[in-house]
């Protein structure tokens, strides 16, 4: 949340049940003014349900959603100062681009010049002026996406909700639009809440991210923090690549099964607790001798050059599976089939609880 005071959206203990299925389980999040906030998670994690609840398309089973401190309650979508950009874009097929964009402004009963001025302004912002008289079926996917965006932002909502805004675009366009959305958010000065299943997308666009899984919020943090200090096994695995070793907390480190004690910071974990020792591939090294840092032996399975990096796959002793180390080319001399040791500095290893 931005540091300048009250949140725009406050979600308190939001719970939503569809029959026996719990789509949202006691979710609480604060979202600040002008924040680009992402709800990230795999399909079925509840992120779209939460977004639709903010938009007024779903009613919570319990909990509250407050906008500028006021409970939205059961307010209908047209009574909420928020607007949604739908995953399918939901453009009106029988209207031109201009009519699509003007539709919501006309409902505000403004005078004609005001409507025209606002519509023209937004069409210019998203670069759609030359296409204003086309119909949705005469547009490309990227153009449709911009119409959907224009139609929502022309309403000047307090919060713009975006449901998988880039999912329907091809990869190249998606990357361009990530930058474009970010630029637009600064330009129009709105709070954006975007739902996505794509962690790269969330990481590159959002100021903060809430990771959802099975209806629960696992962690809310900036992209940097999520990557560097995930607090949960699921988050650690979902964001970027991570190596995991199972073990138990002992004094001064983690006793990894069938390997031995490895030094790590175990703050906040009780001795004897089951934990995961988690190490990012770029925070580990491969060498042919044991060295002084905590290390685990194994056999090099494969060495792969991936552009600017080398990925070294090591099959660890004790049947812990493959450990991946990434390093700059030339930093490692390991070759497939040889014996090697994987090591890392103790402060590079995360300790995450293992239920």
């Amino acid at each position: 949340m931005s540091d300048d005071g009250a949140p725009v959206i406050r979600i308190e203990g939001a719970t939503k049940r569809f029959g026996d299925v719990v789509a949202l389980d006691d979710v609480s999040i604060d979202i600040g003014e002008n924040e680009f906030f992402a709800l990230l998670g795999p399909s079925g994690c509840g992120k779209t349900t939460l977004l639709r609840s903010i938009g007024g398309f779903e009613q919570l089973s319990s909990g509250r959603i407050l906008l500028d401190g006021v409970d939205l309650g059961h307010a209908r979508p047209y009574d909420r100062p928020v607007n949604m950009m739908f995953q399918s874009y939901a453009l009106f097929p029988h209207m031109t681009v201009r009519d699509n964009v003007a539709y919501g402004v006309k409902a505000e009963k403004l005078d004609k010049e005001e409507v025209a001025a606002r519509v023209d302004g937004v069409l210019r912002t998203v670069d759609l002026e030359p296409l204003a008289d086309r119909r949705p079926h005469q547009l490309s996917g990227g153009q449709r996406q911009r119409v959907a965006l224009a139609r929502a932002i022309v309403k000047r909502p307090r919060v713009l909700l975006l449901d998988e805004p880039l999912a329907a675009l091809d990869r190249k366009l998606r990357q361009e639009m990530q930058i474009e959305l970010k630029r637009l958010q600064h330009e129009v000065g709105l709070t954006f809440i975007v739902v996505t299943h794509d962690q790269e997308e969330a990481m590159s666009m959002a100021d903060r991210i809430a990771v959802l899984h099975a209806g629960r919020v696992l962690q809310v943090a900036t992209p940097q923090e999520l990557y560097a200090r995930p607090t949960d096994h699921f988050v650690a695995a979902f964001i970027g690549k991570m190596n995991f070793l199972p073990g138990r907390v002992v004094t001064g480190g983690v006793d990894v099964d069938r390997v031995g004690v490895v030094g790590a910071s175990v703050n906040g974990h009780l001795e004897g607790a089951d934990v995961w020792l988690a190490v990012r591939p770029e925070n580990a090294r491969v060498s042919s001798d044991e060295g002084t840092d905590p290390s685990v032996g194994g056999v090099v399975e494969a060495v792969a050059f991936v552009g600017a990096q080398v990925h070294t796959h090591v099959a660890l002793d004790g049947g812990h599976g493959t450990f991946v180390v990434t390093s700059p080319p030339g930093a490692t001399t390991a070759s497939a089939g040889t014996r090697a040791y994987v090591s890392w500095s103790p402060d590079a290893a995360l300790v995450l609880s293992r239920p």
């Binding site: 007024g56 398309f57 995953q87 139609r151």
Partner: protein, 278 residues
């Protein structure tokens, strides 16, 4: 290759025979309606529109046409309004295929059964027979037809456009008229044209439930009982032209506007989909 060419030649001949079989009677009918003959309807006596003149001077025919058009208009309005709402409800709020079938069933019930059933029902509730009873009878299957036709339009209807409308500040009822209805409009209009056409030439049910009222098909039937006069040919030709006009109209409106003109195959497929939902 020669084998194939021979097969295709046979197919052409076969197709020609089928077309002659299908269309020759109609062509003869149209030709005879312009025949300037007194009673011997088979020999050509020269071109004339006298039978059309006699037709439009015949009070009984005009009265029957008026009755039939009145019934058809009222039935179309009832069937399209109720049928459209029924289709929307079925599409959205039920996954019961039994209920679906129950809605379409009146289309499949033999007319004569429906006629007998309605007649008995009317006598039980003491409803006097006349235009009103025919309207109710035709509405029974008109609603079923309209619901079936509109339903095909609703398949693939993206409900998020309605949500988008609500989201943009427009309430439920205006949303229906500004978003839902315009998008399904071609289906609604096609339903209207089909129900109208069916009501105009429906004979069996109308005959059962008409009482003293004479609809156009009943009038034609009674004319034939006194022998085929050339006036009948003129009447039939007008009906043919009128129903063709309606069918072409149904095809045109059910085509998406502003889209590139569809190919013949698409038009045909759509015609099948729209006109033969059962």
């Amino acid at each position: 290759m020669a084998e194939r060419r021979r097969t295709s030649a046979w197919l052409r001949v076969f197709m020609g025979v089928v077309f002659v079989f299908l269309y020759l009677p109609l062509i003869v009918l149209v030709a005879l309606s312009f025949n300037d003959a007194q009673r011997s309807v088979v020999s050509w006596q020269g071109f004339s529109v006298r039978w059309y003149g006699e037709m439009v001077r015949d009070e009984a025919i005009l009265g029957a046409v008026g009755t039939t058009l009145t019934i058809a208009v009222v039935v179309t309005v009832i069937a399209v309004v109720v049928g459209t709402l029924l289709a929307l409800g079925l599409e959205r709020y039920t996954r019961s295929s039994v209920l679906d079938g129950a809605v379409y069933f009146p289309i499949l019930v033999p007319d004569i059964v429906l006629g007998i059933a309605l007649l008995s029902f009317y006598s039980i509730i003491h409803l006097s027979l006349g235009i009103r009873s025919i309207v109710i009878a035709h509405s029974v299957w008109g609603i079923a037809f309209a619901a079936a036709i509109v339903r095909t339009r609703l398949r693939g209807f993206d409900r998020s456009i309605e949500e988008a409308s609500l989201d943009l500040g427009v309430k439920e009822i205006p949303t229906f008229f500004r978003i839902t209805l315009p998008v399904i409009w071609p289906g609604v209009l096609a339903a209207a044209l089909v129900v109208f056409t069916l009501s105009i030439d429906e004979f069996v049910i109308a005959y059962f439930t008409a009482g003293q009222t004479v609809t156009f098909p009943i009038q034609v039937y009674s004319m034939i009982r006194f022998g085929v006069t050339p006036v009948i040919n003129a009447v039939a030709t007008v009906m043919l032209a009128f129903s063709m006009l309606l069918i072409v109209g149904a095809l045109l409106v059910s085509r998406p506007r502003n889209a590139p003109a569809p190919t013949e195959d698409e038009v045909e497929a759509e015609a099948e989909e729209e006109l033969m939902p059962a």
